[in-house]
């Protein structure tokens, strides 16, 4: 069996993604820093949003980074789970909301 694609140490290479496209890389990191830093929402609230997105998107790097960030900011396990349930509910709701499309078509097509 070959090595897994995802390795924890790969995350350390993330700051280097601008290597062959420095301007776009710098633009991204500038945007990323501003978007995730404290604004009208606190850094803590944004870390919980990011953790939720990370789990919904199944990104192991982001889950690692934002679980650690939440811990660093004193976010409790109960709060992290509550946020993840929001993500889970949204995914379930998103799926079920599309049942309306199915229902629309079946209503039209069936006798």
């Amino acid at each position: 069996m070959s090595e897994p694609y995802y390795k924890p140490e790969d995350l350390a290479d993330f700051p280097n993604i601008g290597e062959h496209s420095p301007e776009l890389g710098a633009s991204f990191f500038d945007y990323y820093g501003k978007a995730t830093g404290a604004g009208k929402l606190t850094e803590r609230e944004k870390a919980l949003i990011a953790l939720t997105v990370a789990t919904v998107r199944h990104c192991p790097y982001c889950i690692d980074a934002y679980t650690n960030k939440c811990l660093s900011l004193g976010v409790g396990n109960d709060e992290m789970m509550e946020a993840i349930h929001v993500g889970a509910a949204m995914v379930a709701g998103d799926t079920l909301a599309h049942a309306t499309q199915v229902r629309k078509i079946t209503r039209k097509k069936e006798m």
């Binding site: 924890p8 140490e9 350390a12 404290a38 803590r44 811990l71 660093s72 900011l73 004193g74 409790g76």
Partner: protein, 334 residues
């Protein structure tokens, strides 16, 4: 674990290089002191608590107590030299019978005096008199409180500790500490209750203030966040939980060259219970005395030479230079 064994454990995974190599790469090696603005006295390794993160490995069984003659010498140095701040730490300084004398004589020098307390001890027996002594002498208090929840604090410091810390904070608030306009300073020290770096100091302070006031009605002035140094009991924890490699990777990845310029050892001198001199409390616990050529004992104190000394650095120094930087006064001005 023997200090030499501890240092040998602190390898940096991957190709990031040692702390010395990082300083050399930024042409900042040797790291040199800029002065002695803070004299930090570690007067005892005895403590009423046995915290899992303690780099001193303090406990009720420890016997090290600063000798009376060394205390007298420290007072003399404080009186003679232009050193802004005297910072008293331990262990639990309140367990040293000479603490009241030390503080009274230091107070007469009109310098800034800090006592680092674990708070819980201020609820115990004769130590309950210390809040009034601190108030009378205008001592600035730095109270250790790793977290604003009892669960996370007690996991690190022992069952029931959080509740006693809150009781102590409440007593301190009653006599004016931590209250706006009194001039009586109560700062708190946060260190992460696990194998991760501390979060943003401003964000954590906001959350500490909100939670402690809403849930327990207690106040404080400011929060200092401190990155756990991978030595002593915290190193044991990292090893036993299989986190050492990850933690050293995190510290080395977050190395911040700007933090190096303001790292606390550059303006601090640490004195051990036996009068030996060190660049910081972490080096003291590792037995890394000030560099050869500098006076190594308080009896030989020489401000000029110590102000220009070379700092002894090893890989544990990554803890003070990671992210926003870390010190006994919180994040570094980077």
């Amino acid at each position: 674990m023997d200090p030499r064994q501890q240092l040998a454990m602190l390898e940096i995974p991957g190709r990031r290089g040692s702390f010395v190599e990082r300083l050399k790469a930024m042409e900042f090696f040797p790291l040199c002191a800029t002065g002695v603005e803070v004299l930090q006295l570690n007067i005892t390794r005895r403590c009423n608590l046995t915290c899992r993160h303690c780099h001193v490995e303090a406990s009720p069984d420890r016997q090290e107590m600063m000798l009376e003659e060394i205390i007298t010498e420290c007072i003399r140095i404080a009186q003679m030299f232009e050193i802004d701040t005297i910072d008293v730490t331990g262990g639990a300084p309140e367990l040293h019978p000479q603490l009241p004398r030390l503080l009274r004589e230091l107070a007469a020098t009109k310098k800034r005096i800090i006592v680092r307390t674990n708070l819980a001890i201020l609820t115990e027996g004769a130590c309950q008199s210390f809040p009034q002594i601190y108030r009378e002498l205008g001592v600035e208090i730095v109270g250790s409180l790793p977290d604003y929840t009892s669960e996370r604090t007690d996991r690190q410091r022992g069952s029931g500790t959080f509740a006693r810390c809150i009781t102590a904070m409440s007593l301190l608030n009653k006599i004016g500490y931590g209250r706006e306009g009194t001039g009586l300073i109560l700062n708190l020290m946060h260190n992460p209750p696990g194998a991760f770096m501390p979060g943003n100091q401003t964000s954590l302070e906001h959350e500490y203030k909100r939670q402690l006031l809403e849930r327990f009605g207690v106040e404080f002035n400011g929060l200092f966040v401190l990155t756990n140094c991978p030595i002593g009991r915290y190193l044991d924890y990292l090893i036993s939980s299989d986190n050492l490699n990850d933690y050293m990777t995190i510290l080395a990845s977050a190395f911040n060259p700007k933090a190096v310029f303001n790292v606390m050892c550059r303006n601090t001198l640490s004195v051990g219970w036996d009068g030996r001199l060190y660049d910081c409390d972490f080096n003291q616990m590792l037995g890394l005395k000030v560099n050869d050529g500098s006076p190594t004992h308080i009896r030989e104190f020489d401000l000029k030479r110590l102000s220009r000394r070379q700092i002894t650095v090893r890989n544990h120094c990554f803890a003070c230079c990671a992210g926003a930087g870390s010190s006994c006064q919180g994040v570094l001005d980077t």
